[in-house]
């Protein structure tokens, strides 16, 4: 009978239409991401035509075309400098976006993101400690991402503990304790950098506060790619249904077979790991984690199985464009990318606040 019902009334639940829509968006965004990559690699202080970019990448990857029709400096710029940078931008954008999705489901607040919850600042402190004092040196070449991860995890646990002290965890308490912890840790990081007298070292205060993709190198990409693609995006997509359930509230989650505390803990580890790795590679970039989840929900609805991959693609595209603007706007001078994301993100936040007020929630 139900089968007949589905046939007869044609997509009674609205699921088939939604699936088609999601499929189309995924295809469109994937195409958009590839085009973005080619254009972004070509833009900068020295412009290179997209066709040449495609040829150089093809030549390097699969040896096609075999004939060299470009100059060696062009090849060096594309392959050694800009491609790793653009790929890092994609990974950072995708990673921050899906972390924002996870945190918004987790704290049930549309204003949650790694930056506002103080997780970025924890990662910065951890990474700065590794650079200045050699913390985590036992982890060899992974000392930096490892101590950034531990810093992020410590900060997020601290935020949750502060929010929990004295009763129920509410999202407003979480956000406020996130802001408090965030400020305290950024101040600490900056103080340490100045106090150590190496403010001109490899990573400056500016890097930790506003981020930069300028340190992208091939050898560092692998860890970031593994954590973002294999860790965050895959895990969160697979856990999509549980994110839906967690977003309904702890009690509903429990009655639908998801243990809220345990799942939240796992999410915190995944988010901290991702943010730690991203921040150690590109500094602290705000607003992507806040803005992109909303855009994703707007175009494919609320279920996280759809929101996570769409947010990843959108985040990747947005961050790469933000970086292009950062490189081109005052070329040859480079603007910290966090300035661009903030300029794009802040008006969006204002719109969001107005809408929250209007619906009375």
């Amino acid at each position: 009978m139900a089968a007949a019902l589905l046939e007869g009334q044609k997509d009674l639940l609205g699921v088939a239409a939604q699936r088609r829509r999601t499929g189309l968006w995924l295809v469109a965004l994937t195409v958009g991401l590839v085009l973005t990559g080619v254009v972004a690699v070509g833009s900068g202080a020295i412009g290179i035509a997209p066709a040449s970019v495609a040829r150089i990448i093809g030549h390097q990857l699969v040896g096609v075309p075999g004939e060299v029709t470009w100059t060696l400096p062009q090849e060096a710029i594309v392959w050694q400098v800009r491609l790793p940078r653009v790929l890092l931008g994609m990974l950072v954008g995708a990673g921050l976006a899906v972390c924002g999705v996870a945190l918004q489901a987790m704290v049930r607040n549309v204003l949650a993101d790694p930056y506002l919850l103080g997780i970025n600042s924890g990662a910065s402190s951890g990474a700065a400690a590794a650079i200045l004092f050699g913390a985590g040196a036992g982890f060899g070449q992974y000392a930096l991402p490892t101590s950034a991860f531990l810093g992020a995890l410590a900060a997020s646990l601290l935020v949750f503990l502060i929010a929990r002290s004295g009763g129920r965890v509410t999202s407003i308490r979480l956000l406020l304790s996130g802001v408090a912890v965030g400020y305290a840790l950024y101040a600490t990081t900056s103080f340490l950098i100045f106090a150590s007298g190496s403010a001109e070292g490899s990573r400056s205060v500016m890097f930790w506060l506003l981020g930069s993709l300028g340190l992208a190198r091939w050898n560092a990409l692998l860890v970031v790619a593994a954590v973002v693609l294999g860790g965050a995006i895959l895990y969160l997509t697979v856990a999509g249904r549980r994110l839906d359930v967690l977003a309904l509230g702890d009690e509903s989650a429990q009655t639908l077979g998801v243990s809220p505390d345990r799942f939240r803990m796992r999410l915190l580890v995944v988010v901290s790991l991702s943010v730690g790795v991203l921040v150690s590679a590109a500094g602290s970039i705000g607003f992507i984690g806040l803005v992109v989840p909303h855009l994703a929900r707007r175009i494919v609805g609320a279920p996280h199985v759809r929101v996570v991959p769409v947010a990843a693609l959108l985040g990747a595209i947005l961050l790469v464009w933000a970086d292009v603007v950062a490189r081109v706007l005052l070329a040859p001078q480079e603007i910290p990318i966090g300035i661009i994301t903030a300029l794009l993100g802040a008006p969006f936040l204002v719109v969001l606040i107005r809408r929250l007020h209007a619906t009375g929630t």
């Binding site: 009674l12 249904r241 009690e251 009655t255 639908l256 077979g257 998801v258 609805g301 279920p303 199985v305």
Partner: protein, 261 residues
């Protein structure tokens, strides 16, 4: 079969539920009734594990509830709590489909079978036309029916409902309880309305402030002599076409008013 023995809960220093034992038997509807503040909802929350009693235990089909993995617990107990998910952006159908989660492995996708179950459950509560609508934009009664559809889609062996008739028109109050009764699953329902309890429950547990309890069949518990002191109102019981009906009238209204003044 849900069997709670000697469970308790206190808010601050006040015990709300104090050493209460409840048994919900297979294929029967157990009603939890009592005046406001008597701890009906608290007792229900103890029974589905949202609250963990410091004393006694809750057994579900012979296993201790607190020892069950959460997914297994959700296959045994489907719960409809009051007013939830008001700010979710999910559609009604997506919300109902979440009820299938406990039956799917982590990597299993929602398929045609799940959609059919969801469509059938929405149809059963008269909400098939609401499937594609945003849950948050539905009226209170429509939401309640969608949440009941989700509990049905969960296909658990027990169904627990906290005042499922809240927000519902009189027609749906009866339809929903009629539906619950005809499921022939072991069900526990918190009810405010004693006449609904009379018509749809097999057994009743009557709670009073301070935790005193009367348990028995509906026939036994809905006795004016039992109810009157607890509710503080005059009750006359009629049997009409084989069903119990209760009529209420204030007792000693004049003396009550005087003592209140």
């Amino acid at each position: 079969m849900i069997e709670a023995t000697g469970v308790s809960w206190r808010y601050g220093a006040n015990p709300v539920i104090d050493g209460v034992s409840v048994a919900a038997r297979p294929g029967r509807v157990l009603g939890l009734i009592g005046p406001n503040g008597s701890g009906k909802t608290t007792l229900l929350r103890l029974l589905y594990g949202a609250l963990r009693s410091g004393t006694g235990q809750v057994m579900v089909d012979g296993d201790e509830l607190s020892a069950l993995p959460s997914r297994e617990a959700a296959r045994r107990l489907a719960v409809v709590v009051q007013e939830t998910g008001g700010e979710t952006a999910l559609t009604a159908a997506e919300l109902v489909l979440l009820g299938r989660g406990p039956h799917l492995s982590t990597f299993q996708r929602i398929g045609r079978a799940e959609h059919e179950i969801a469509a059938r459950c929405l149809t059963r509560v008269g909400a098939a036309h609401l499937g594609a609508r945003a849950f948050a934009q539905l009226s209170g009664g429509e939401r309640q029916r969608v949440l009941i559809a989700r509990a049905l889609a969960q296909q658990a062996t027990h169904l627990l409902l906290d005042e499922p008739t809240n927000h519902l028109d009189i027609r749906y109050q009866h339809e929903i309880l009629h539906l619950v009764r005809n499921l022939n699953t072991c069900s526990i329902v918190v009810l405010h309305d004693l006449n609904l309890a009379a018509r749809y429950c097999d057994d009743l547990v009557l709670l009073d402030r301070g935790g005193a309890v009367v348990a028995g069949t509906t026939e036994e518990v809905l006795d004016p002599e039992v109810l009157e002191p607890i509710y503080g109102i005059g009750i006359r019981r009629l049997e009409l076409d084989g069903a119990i009906h209760l009529l209420f009238q204030p007792v000693d209204q004049t003396t009550d008013e005087r003592s209140a003044a």
